[in-house]
Amino acid sequence: MNPAEIALYPFERPGTLAELCRTLSARAGRKERTVLLAGGTDWIVERRLAPPEDPNDLPLVVDVSRLPEMRGITVAREIATIGAAATFLEIKSHPVLSRRAPVLTAMAREVGAVQIQARGTLGGNLASASPAADGAAALMALDADVVLASIHGERRVPLTQFFTGYRATRRAEDEVIVRVEFTLPRTGAHQVWRKVGTRAAQAISKVALAAVAEVARGRGVRSGFGMASVAPVTVSLPSVRALGLAPSLASVSDEELDAATRRDIAPIDDLRSTAAYRAYVASALVKGFFRELRMAAGS
């Protein structure tokens, strides 16, 4: 579709979350399509590649980028709350997050160059549900909850259960992602963000690993993982997580880690990489992180 065709979509900018929820509810009731637009870094590019839509049946585009209820980052009582429309640039620049959740800061810094950081949001990242979404992987490692709002109120879905298939989520048509929340890892927790791609600034990941772990007296007491671009959805690596909670991290072998990683991913060949390369890199990233944990566990 060319820019002139995209320009024809109807557009609204609600002033409050309540107004947005009413619009969503009414439209969902009438089976009318609605697009929630935040930074546009996915949707606008995808429209360009998509064939033109029927001009008489265009979805309504609703701007959520400036809704006060969806903005801002707060930390209180060890819980971090990030508005769904907070930008990666705001996340990257947040002093408490950079100290306590560096996995998120590092992700935000590498998700794209500053022009993309300034527009992209976690809400968009989660709603688009691309398996390559860096933000989804980092939040999964932090065991974040997704908070959804509708005219019926709020509900909360653990991110590990949010994605239901390729580009599909538990968000209902009449809901909007308003924020994400997670418990801050303890000071001194091990946190890693590793993105493998072709270009430092703007590349979409071939494989990305987010990992958060806490070790106490040789045993794993917190273990969170998120991996992008290795399955139809962002995966939480459940078998690898289980190994991260081993009573003796020092005894976790590379063979066990390889087998667990293989079980947890389903990579494919596509324009960015191959299944074989992705599987190799996924294993290497996981083993690299566990080497760090084993050292911390004193092996």
């Binding site: 557009f11 546009g40 585009v61 300034a118």
Partner: protein, 158 residues
């Protein structure tokens, strides 16, 4: 949709489709053709402008989202009779060759220097990582930005 935004210090009101690209509004009705279109999909940074002081790709920003906000384009860098320090530095240090990426790079660098007046080389390179140049190999661009930072510092201390 009727919208108003401040472009290069001047309030502009116009009627435009809300999902028109900021890029097309700038280059069309506003006649600001300094902002260039490269890839049109947020990869190359040629269309970089500052939205409320922050670099964005004007090809990915829709006009309706700019209502009530402030936009700075490359036309807003120079004063009536003098280039900005940054622009002067690009002229002196050979930071521009074919020139298509230059407006976008100037805007990214302008935003950097506004928040970080004495950036290190790594910070300079990171700030323009979203801008692709196929001529210079980037070295002259980095030197131009460093030169501009020095000029600015000298002016402020002098």
């Amino acid at each position: 949709m009727r919208m108003t935004f401040v472009v290069n210090g001047r309030s502009r009101t116009l009627d435009a489709p809300p999902l028109a690209r900021l890029l097309d509004i700038l280059r069309g009705p506003l006649g600001l053709t300094g902002t260039k279109e490269g890839c049109g999909e947020g990869e190359c940074g040629s269309c970089t402008v500052l939205l409320d002081g922050v670099p964005v790709n004007a090809c990915l920003v829709v006009a309706g989202q700019c209502d009530g906000r402030t936009v700075l384009t490359v036309e807003g860098l120079a004063s009536r009779d003098a280039l900005s320090d940054l622009q002067e530095a690009f002229v002196k240090e050979g930071g521009a060759q074919c020139g298509i990426c230059t407006p976008g790079i100037l805007m990214a660098a302008h935003a950097l220097l506004a928040t970080n007046p004495q950036p290190g080389e790594g910070e300079i390179r990171e700030s323009i990582a979203g801008n692709i140049c196929r001529c210079t190999g980037y070295q002259r661009i980095v030197e131009s930005i460093r030169h501009a930072a020095k000029e600015q510092a000298a002016r402020e201390s002098g």
